[in-house]
Symmetry: C2
Subunit: 168 residues, 2 copies
């Protein structure tokens, strides 16, 4: 699994996330509630709300693409308060992921990755992907899914996974 | 990120999961409730309960190690109804993961992986890891974490991530 494969997996999952939001919108319409009430829902009082889970999933993907692809990470301020704005955030993130191409990840495994929260320490690119980007990305994506699921949105595992490149 | 790296990441996360269960047990003791009531808790009436999330995380790790390592997957029946039994399930899984060594994954990317649920179709080993094993493993691990978190267990992101191989 190359760094490029990981970034394409993140992109696929963000696209799946938009599909979960479609299902949430249909559910809100069927139940006659405003879908944007879900934006501030959370699983525990001190846990991130839905919007912050989506923002964090986007950021994990963005920073992984930037750090491993040797590109500056664009700033995407966390201002989204509606489903429409969160969809736009996902699309903005996807456009950045798309801009980092397979060739940009050459040598990514050995890059020194030193995000501010490591306080001057660093991780090998490969370690950043394994120990930070992958678990964190799927943590926030799954939490976003869990908040919708907990509220009754009809989601199943294949909505989470999306299409598979299975062969006959 | 090699298949071996992915299996070690799953093992690390299962060890972290035991640590979440330690925190749940301490919380149960402090609140004077029986920790095993959490075993059947779930985020939605038709979602997997905590025990099934743990079992599924273990199975995703087990099958990935078996399919990619070219080993038969041992049978681990889903009989656990207590925290003590779930800890044992995790340890049984970890012992199997440990038994599949780095050299067993040689050529794993190109293996044909044909789990029964694909109904005769197959995935390249690398595609199985990217599209099935990684997202599914972290889905179930995060759902297990989310159930504990939703019940008030004091868990934070670093409990989920565990230690990082950061360098000075």
């Amino acid at each position: 699994m190359t760094p490029n494969d990981a970034i394409r997996l993140f992109a696929k999952t963000l696209q799946n996330m938009e599909h979960w939001m479609d299902k949430a919108a249909a559910y809100a319409q069927a139940k006659s509630f405003e879908v944007d009430v879900l934006v501030q829902d959370r699983l525990a009082p001190d846990a991130y709300a839905f919007n912050r889970q989506v923002q964090s999933a986007c950021d994990q993907a963005k920073y992984a693409a930037a750090y491993l692809g040797g590109k500056p990470a664009p700033s995407h301020p966390d201002t989204e308060k509606t489903f429409a704005e969160l969809r736009q955030r996902i699309r903005t993130c996807l456009a950045f992921l798309e801009s980092v191409q397979a060739k940009d990840f050459a040598g990514a495994e050995d890059r020194k990755v030193s995000p501010p929260w490591l306080g001057g320490k660093w991780l090998r690119g490969d370690d950043y992907l394994v120990h930070v980007a992958i678990p964190n990305f799927f943590f926030h994506a799954t939490m976003a899914y869990a908040i919708l699921r907990h509220n009754g949105v009809e989601l199943g595992k294949m909505d989470y996974i999306g299409s598979l490149p299975a062969k006959d």
